[in-house]
Symmetry: C2
C-alpha cells in the first residue's frame, strides 16, 4: 500500500468517526425535543442557536480550525436536526385547543397548516368544494376561520363564508396580497379580522425560519395566539401595514416573476439552451440561471395568477417597461456615461446593503459551486 493510500484510509476512518458523532448528536437532539414537548417549550430558539454558533466559532479559532467552515457545518447540522423535529408534535400556544376551520383545506397550504395545527393539539376542520354544506353545522364551534383559496376566488369565498360565521369567530386569510382581502373581511364580517401571508410554498420541509406576515385589522388581540403558535413552529413573525406590504409584494412577486419569464423566453428566442449555457457559466451565472429556471418547473397558471393578480401590479409592470425604455435608450446611443451615473445612483440608494449582498451572494455561490459545479 502506498503512502497516499494509507493517508486516505486515515481520512476515511476520521470520516467514519464523524458519522458516529452525528448519530450520537441526533440521539441527544431527539431527547431534547421530547423534553421541550413535555414542557411546552418552543422547538427552535434563535438566541440559543446564535450563542451556540458564537461559542463554537471561538473554540474553532483557538484550535486553529477555520471558524467560517465550522459555522457552516453547525448551521447545516442544526437545520437537519430541526427538520427531523418537525416530523413530530409541537407545543400548543393556548391553554385549551382551538377549533380552526380551513377554507380551501384540500389545497397545498391548507393541508400543510392542518398538519401543523393538529400536531400542536388543535382541532381542525376543512371545507373545500366537495363539502361546503358542512359549514353551517360547523360554524357555531369555530374559533378561527382561515381562507386559503386561489387568489382570484378569495373575495367571493370571504363573502360566502362570512354570512355563516358567528361574530366571535376570528376571520383570517392566507392571500399573498393583503389590502383587498382585509377590506372584504372587514365589510363582510363583524368580528375580529386578521390578514395573514405565509411567505413560503406548500412544499417546504418544515416551517422553521419561514416568514409569517401578520396584519391585525380588528380586535387583533383575539387572534394573537395564532402568531404565538407560528413562533412555536419556529417561524419568523412580522407585523405589517397592508398597503406597504402590497406595494413591496408587487415588486417581490409581480416584477420578479415577470422578469423570470422575460429572461427565459428571451433565451428561447435566442436559441440559447440552458444546458449549453452551463458550459460557459461561472458559479454566479449558474446561480442566476437556476433562479430563473426553477420558475418553469412550476405551474404556468400559478404564475399568471401572481403576475396578473391586481390592477396595481399590472400598472407597476407597465411603469417597469417605461423604465426599461429609458435605460434601453442609453444602450442604443452607447451612452456609457449615462449608464455609470445611473449605476452610481443605485449604489448610493442601496447603501451598505450592497456590501451585505456581495457577502451573502458570495457565500451562496461558494455553496453552489461546492455542491454542483
Amino acid at each position: 500500500m502506498s503512502d497516499l493510500d494509507s493517508m486516505r484510509e486515515e481520512i476515511d476512518a476520521l470520516d467514519k468517526t464523524l458519522l458516529e458523532l452525528l448519530k450520537k448528536r441526533n440521539d441527544v437532539a431527539k431527547k431534547v425535543l421530547a423534553y421541550k414537548l413535555e414542557h411546552q417549550l418552543p422547538v427552535f430558539m434563535a438566541e440559543r442557536e446564535e450563542q451556540k454558533t458564537e461559542r463554537l466559532r471561538r473554540d474553532a479559532h483557538e484550535m486553529g480550525v477555520d471558524p467560517e467552515m465550522v459555522e457552516d457545518l453547525l448551521r447545516i447540522i442544526m437545520a437537519s436536526s430541526r427538520a427531523t423535529q418537525s416530523q413530530h408534535e409541537f407545543p400548543m400556544a393556548t391553554d385549551e385547543p382551538r377549533h380552526v376551520l380551513l377554507l380551501g383545506g384540500d389545497g397545498g397550504m391548507g393541508k400543510l397548516y392542518r398538519r401543523f395545527l393538529e400536531r400542536s393539539g388543535h382541532q381542525v376542520s376543512s371545507i373545500d368544494k366537495g363539502n361546503w354544506y358542512e359549514l353551517e353545522q360547523l360554524a357555531p364551534t369555530i374559533d378561527l376561520a382561515i381562507v386559503t383559496v386561489p387568489i382570484h376566488v378569495t373575495l367571493d369565498v370571504i363573502e360566502r363564508v362570512s354570512a355563516k360565521l358567528p361574530d366571535h369567530v376570528v376571520l383570517a386569510d392566507f392571500t399573498s396580497n393583503k389590502g383587498a382581502p382585509i377590506q372584504a373581511m372587514m365589510q363582510a364580517h363583524k368580528g375580529p379580522v386578521l390578514g395573514l401571508h405565509p411567505m413560503h410554498g406548500p412544499d417546504v420541509p418544515n416551517l422553521s425560519k419561514q416568514l409569517m406576515v401578520i396584519c391585525p385589522a380588528r380586535d387583533g388581540e383575539k387572534g394573537a395566539w395564532f402568531g404565538e403558535q407560528c413562533k412555536l413552529w419556529g417561524m419568523r413573525v412580522v407585523e405589517a401595514d397592508p398597503d406597504a406590504h402590497d406595494h413591496a409584494m408587487d415588486l417581490v412577486q409581480g416584477l420578479r416573476h415577470f422578469v423570470a419569464l422575460l429572461h427565459g423566453s428571451f433565451m428561447k428566442d435566442q436559441e440559447l439552451k440552458p444546458q449549453q449555457m452551463l458550459d460557459y457559466s461561472s458559479p454566479m451565472y449558474r446561480a442566476e440561471l437556476m433562479m430563473t429556471g426553477r420558475i418553469f418547473a412550476q405551474s404556468a397558471e400559478l404564475y399568471a395568477d401572481i403576475v396578473f393578480s391586481s390592477p396595481e401590479r399590472r400598472a407597476l409592470l407597465t411603469q417597469f417597461f417605461k423604465h426599461h425604455e429609458r435605460l434601453a435608450a442609453m444602450v442604443e446611443s452607447n451612452d456609457r456615461a449615462g449608464f455609470i451615473k445611473e449605476f452610481e445612483a443605485v449604489t448610493d440608494f442601496f447603501g451598505s446593503f450592497a456590501t451585505q449582498a456581495l457577502f451573502e451572494s458570495g457565500y451562496l455561490i461558494n455553496r453552489l459551486s461546492d455542491r454542483f459545479a
Copy 2:
C-alpha cells in the same frame, strides 16, 4: 442543573469532539498535500471526491444519518481543505519551468495568476503602464505572453506587444469576449495563438472548481501545457468556439448585468429600500435581492465596460427591449392566456433543466436561510 441543561452540555461536548476531529482531518490533509507536491500529482481530483462522497452517503444511510446532510458537510470540509492547500505550492505541468509574461500584470487578474504560476515553479514577468520599456529586453526569453488588460484597450495592447514578440512565443489573452481579440492576435502575431477566458473575478480564494475557457486558434499544441497547468490548480477547463462563446457571453454578461441595473434602479424609482424589502422576503426573494445587490458594491466602470463591450452586445440588448415590449403588451391588455402560452413554451424549451434548477435553487435557498435569514 435541569435535564435540558445537561442534555445541552452533552451536545456541547459532542461539538467539541467534532472540532478535534476536524483538526485531525486537517493535519492528515496537509500531509496528503505535501505528498502530492513531492510526486507532482494534481491537488484536486474530481473522481476521488465523487467516490468519497458516494461512499460516505452509503455509510450514512446504513447508520440512519441523513445522507443529504452528510454530503453537505463533506463538501464544505473538502472545499475548506482545498482552500488551505491553495495557499502553498502546486505541481508544475511541464518538465522545465516556462517563462510567462503578463501584460497588465498590476491588475487583479494579473496578480492572481502571477501568484499561481510562481507557486507552480514557473518564471513570471510583468509589464504594466510603468515599465513598458522592459518588454524589448524580456521578449527573447518568453514562452507565453498573456494580455490581461481592461477590455477597451485589449486590441491596442495586442498590436503593440505583437510587434516585439519573437514568432515562437504563444500569444494569449484573458479578455471576456473571444472573437475580436483572437482575430487581432492572429493578424498581429505569426506564432501560436490561444484565446483564454478565466470565468471568475480576481477576488476568488483559490482556483479550484473555477472555469477556464480555452479557444486554441493557431498551433494549439504549443499552448496546451497551460490548460494542463489550470487542471493542476483544480480548474475545470472547457474548449470553445470563439463565436459560440461570445454569443453566450452576450447573454451571460451583457444581459444579466443590464437586468441587474434595471432592477436596482427601478427599486430606487419606487423608493423600495432593500433593507425594507428583506422584512417581507422569503428566502427565495432574499437570494434574488442578493444577486442584484452584489452588483452595486462593485465598480460602475467595470459594469459599463461589460455591458457596452461590443456592438453585438448592444444589439442583443436592443432585441431584449423589443422582446420586453411584446410581453409588456400582454400585461397591459390583461392577456392571461397569452402569458400562460408564453410560459409553457419556455417550460418546453428548458426541458429537464427546469427540474434541475428547482432542485439546485432549492438547495441554495435552504443554505441561505440556514445561514442568514
